[in-house]
Subunit: 416 residues, 2 copies
Amino acid sequence: MVVELISVGTELLLGNIVNTNACFLSQQLAAIGMSVYYQTTVGDNEKRLQGTLKEALKRSDIVILTGGLGPTKDDLTKEVTAKVLKKELVEDKNTKKRIKEYLGKSHYGEITENNWKQAMIPEGALVIDNDNGTAPGLVVGSEDGKKVILLPGPPNELIPMFKEKILPILKESSEEIIYSEMVKVAGIGESRVETEIADLIQNQSNPTIAPYAKTGEVHLRITAKAKSEKEAKKLVKPIVEELKKRFKNAIYTNKEEENLEDALVRLLNKHDLKVTTAESCTGGLIAGRLVNVAGVSEVFNQGLVTYSNKAKRKLLDVSKSTLKKYGAVSKQTAKEMAVGAAIFTNSDVAVAVTGIAGPDGGTEEKPVGLVYIGCYVNEKTVVKEFRFNGNRNKVRELTVVHALDLLRRTIIENYE
Amino acid sequence: MVVELISVGTELLLGNIVNTNACFLSQQLAAIGMSVYYQTTVGDNEKRLQGTLKEALKRSDIVILTGGLGPTKDDLTKEVTAKVLKKELVEDKNTKKRIKEYLGKSHYGEITENNWKQAMIPEGALVIDNDNGTAPGLVVGSEDGKKVILLPGPPNELIPMFKEKILPILKESSEEIIYSEMVKVAGIGESRVETEIADLIQNQSNPTIAPYAKTGEVHLRITAKAKSEKEAKKLVKPIVEELKKRFKNAIYTNKEEENLEDALVRLLNKHDLKVTTAESCTGGLIAGRLVNVAGVSEVFNQGLVTYSNKAKRKLLDVSKSTLKKYGAVSKQTAKEMAVGAAIFTNSDVAVAVTGIAGPDGGTEEKPVGLVYIGCYVNEKTVVKEFRFNGNRNKVRELTVVHALDLLRRTIIENYE
């Protein structure tokens, strides 16, 4: 099955927004074994949109268009699709009712005449209700058995609609079952991950292993095709087991929806540990990641941003002689920061970071990118030195991921 | 001038990475008055890339291809371009020398034979040296006077190359001078900004005003075309003055490169004010934004993440009766947090936030999205109530922007 993506919107052509929809859809389609050969972005322009859709229908089985389903005259995606597929637009009563209810609930004020444009659908189209907006999704068939799928542009409407309602339809159009699992690895570089599994990836066909590199993380998606889900799971299982054997503690989850901070907070909850943070170069971003997790309050009371030496001394009791002898960016300071943070906040475990994020402040001996991460766990302290590449932002992002990961690993080593 | 973008890379079609290059280039091109009608993404596939480039050359004056310039056999962009434009590939001595020096310096280990592939260029092409990698940029002319521009895919190579070396070439190919200025507004919604300037935008032609919506901010780009820069500046100036009159303090900068935290830190420096933060629902993200600014240490010593009531009481001295009577998410608590943070850290000004980021914890009276931001400035406290829409992440992002902005405005009102 070859799928083609067309993103519609002048705001994309002006660089007003980044096209995250194309990335999301491509990843989702790859996960169910569908091939995407082209992604095209066009503006809200009838002629160019028509040409692009016609071309796409020549070379692909399914065309997914996103955006251009709004109530204004500029929004042309549905009209152009109907024209290309030679369908009339007719009013869909259910959609009209749903729009009325939706707009009533969200206090958008008066419903204007052009809202009803969104209730018009190409004759015979399958209507996909939108739970987060007014524009419905639509699946329209062509004379030669191809499918055109129209989805709303805003990601908060598109993503749930695709996952909950379009994906099941696409899976149906395949005779085989596609089943995939995710294994997420942190704290190891992409190239090392790929080297470690080169033998598994080589000549793979079913299941396949696809690595996705994230900042400081690699996500491995294992996908199998089979005639039943049971059979597909059976193909995936030994690969997941093999990955667990090879990467051990570096794997922080094999749950699709769980991210690194979720895994850490789960671990803290499991062992009933209160955590705190002491941040210098990351200035609050580690605490910010912890607070991503709804319900983190069970294990996280407070964090400290100690940017200056004065703050490190006052709040964390880092000794004057340590700062003088080794400097603020040193193994010794990171250690004292972690211990001090745990004591000051009366926490069981602590993570502390100090480093040179740049662009200034680097020396030959202590270059930009040098970071020390200290963890206080079970009354012991572990400190690791890192040398990150990249600009200020990149160094800080990598520091955050490695800090969360080092704390996670240290807890496992001490408690499991 | 019509420019078309082709992004080359199977990793884009697999959804492995988001196509930020297309967004960056589109924005840059719009800023110099060039039109982009199509952005296409294709994989590292000879036939499909060839077809896409041929089609693009039919309908556009300039085609910019990004990616696929690496040293491996998969990388085909240069080879396909040469074929389509009927040019031979020849070795460029200067590039070979530069690659040798570059790889020598960065300790990449042995230089392998395929590195020299990157020194091959289409006959007669203009070579653009890459200061951040091995693949050179290339500008190749077609028989009918069109231009094909090849740029490396990694953003840290592409962005500086485009800004420093390609932009001047593109500007030259236009007879007119395009000049633009940016006015950045915070704390006002996009629709209100658009309403306020509807009369300026309507029937505009030269200069134009283009609004770009960011989280909690709107950036307005004013662009003029003229025969000289002086003339263009003269066209832009009255619009900028008019915007300043209309938006007053809501404008935080008219410098292209300055962001909200830069503007705030500049203001703190100007008035010699030490700042601190006390964060509940944002959990460190405000401090994290401040620490984005290199050299923030002059005005920022420490910040506090006080997620629990206990921490609010212990560190910020929020009174037990306030928490009991009004709750942690209240005007009164925000006020006491701001004052307490300034006292505890001995700072001149403080910003404090407390709110319900969701998804849980909301009630009819205090729904998800309710946030109080308190600022302590010049021994006075200002507290504002906000009701944000969106998921946990969105609520937190909006809180961060509005907190930085409220502190900025309060300082201006007190000190300027």
